[in-house]
Amino acid sequence: MLSTLAKILAILNSETRPGQISLALVFAMIMGLTPLFSMHNAVVLLLVLVLRTNLSMFLAALALFSALAYLFDPLFHQFGLWILKLEQLNALWTDMYNSGFWRMTRFNNSVLMGSLAASLILFVPMLLLSNMMIGQYRHRFRNWVNNWQLIKLIKSSKLYQVYQAVSGSDAA
């Protein structure tokens, strides 16, 4: 049981480069901020699984961004409404609205459009920012965090030891 769990954790934490972690984070941002059962999230899930992204970070960030979405939904609604009502894009939206496939995506929902547009706009900046922050963390704060009692406690657990044996790396 512990061994299986450790293997799962190892898989989840297998990609540890900053870029991989950041990518997981931004994909989680898209999936977390937008309504979960939207069609585009299938694409995001595919990318998350196919590209070497850190799955732990993806899951953790997904939870975080899903929580944040409740706070930002009003803004996304306003933003999405603005985008959908833009005169310049009306022809595009009309064509998409008359297509069964695009209707399926529910693109004309204000919250979905606003959150998706916002997360796409934030995709690159977030990616670069998180990349930079991970680098800084590893450089400046990792040792300090490793000295926390909580971390020490986790590291002294049997699960962690098995995990270490399976993954052959330090999770932090």
């Binding site: 595919l46 999405g80 209707r103 929902n109």
Partner: protein, 635 residues
Amino acid sequence: MSAWIRWPGLIAFAVIMLIVILGFYFFAGPLARHAIEYNGTEMLGAKVDLASAEMQLSPLGFELRDLQITHPDKPMSNALQIERITFQMDLWALLAGQVDIRDMSLQAVRLNTPRRVSGALPKAKAQPKKDSKPATPAPAEQALPKPSINLPKVKDILAKETLQTETLYEQTQSAFEQNKQQWQQRVAKLAKRDDFKQLAQRLKNIKPKKSGDRLQDIKNLNDAVEEVKRIKKQVRGDLKQYQESLTQLRSYVKDSEKSIRALRQSASGDLTRLKTKYTPKSENLANYSALLFGEKGEYWTKEALYWYQLLEPYLEKATKEYEKSQQQDIQTQRANGTMVRFKTFQPRPDFLIRKASFDLRRPNGEWQGELKDASSDQRVWARPMRVSLQADKQANLEQLRINAVFDHTKPDQSNDKFELTVGAYQLKDFSVSESKDLPLSLKSARVDLNMNGVLINKRLDAKLNSNFTSAQFFIEKQKGENDFSKLIRQSLENINAFDINSQISGKLSHPKLSISSDLDKLLKKAIGEQFQKQLRAFETELKKSLQDKADALMAKLTPYTQQFNAVEKDLNTTQNDAQNTLKAAENKLQSYQQQLEEKKREKQQELDKKRKALDDKKQDKLDELKNKLKDKFKF
């Protein structure tokens, strides 16, 4: 490349998608079943049960089995039960969040079926969204008015009523008394018969004496004439009084005869008045059919309107929800987002049933029905919803046609129409009235009816024409039933054909129902025929009693008239005597005047003779004197 690509991730993704698709495939049915039960219960306020729902992929469709919709008021009964529902849907519409059902078939639709398990909902859910269904009217409250047709006893009427005859009698009797007193006073002042006899005797006794002296005779005659004149004057004076008194008496007699005639006529007046007051009026029976059938008519009208009001919100649901969503407060919008709509090249409402056919299983056969263009937004679909139902040659029904069109393509100008035709429906044991006084039912009847109506902008105008033939009314005989109920019962039992027409109009919330029927005329006629006999006996008795009373009163007045007549007779006799005396006096006067004239003439002749003799003598003396003178102075 492989540094960035995790090939097993593809497999993982494929597995996840497969799980989702398989999950959708296997759980679609149960999920659909749950959705139908949950949403159906919410919408109708009554428990909805579905035995199973299976999805078919190609073509996309569903098969639902044993749908049961509980009757809102009877938890152990289903308002509707459908054995099997199959329908195909448009896949792309479904993926776009729209339900477009191409063809739906409902098999074995049944109404009012029993349930094995109670369909009662918890109180919070069970509250109806619309006005609650009309309760079946409680019989105790629906007492029919009882126009009283109990004929009272004649003696009771005469005892309590103030009769014109009696009033008139009292007035007449008082007048007679007054007249009598006046007359008696007057008669007392008149000369009596004896007085006239005395005068006649006096007249007779006038005989001027003949003395031989003409002058004396003339004087005596003169005196006699004067006496006669005096008597005549007196008689004339008395006679005048008599005439005046007789004139007045005759006017009294005339008045008394008039009063007696009026008394006789007042008896007829009393009869008419009492008949009018105490015999039942025909207005009491006017529109009785409205009272008999109105209760049921009102109930069925409300029932129909109740179900329409349940349906009505869904005729314009999508439009209203969209409009509502545009007006929703920001917080609600923010939570769910707004579905912004764009122009569609092929407009389609969010929910649409293009065509549904169903067969309704009734105890005596099957009815076939069809529903077309049922949509959540007629404004988008631009077609009204149509429902038709028909049945032919059933065990208890020759023909049934129901056609309805619900046109809400212009929401501010809704225009619903319906038409119902029933041919030769065999009605059995139909309760017409549950009133305590007159529990009336139609044991059997053949009914032909036609009903059509329109509902324009929530104003209803509907007409029903129905014809009942071979009708058999049944009224349970009640203990202590009054005459009226008995008559109605007897009359209705003889009626076997009638029409009922009704009109429902007004606002949907409070329509006005009016019912008319030739049953009123038939009832009046039947009751009239049965009742006339009693009425005639009553009238005869009343007439006789009033006549007897009038005769008795007139008999009391008779002595007065007899008295007046007797006095008149007496006065006439006395007057005759007076006239005779007067005539005798005139005759005597005339005679004496003639004698007097004659005597005067004779005396005058005598005097003339004497004068002539004197004149002759005088002349002789003169002549003699002349001669003497002549002789004396003769030259």
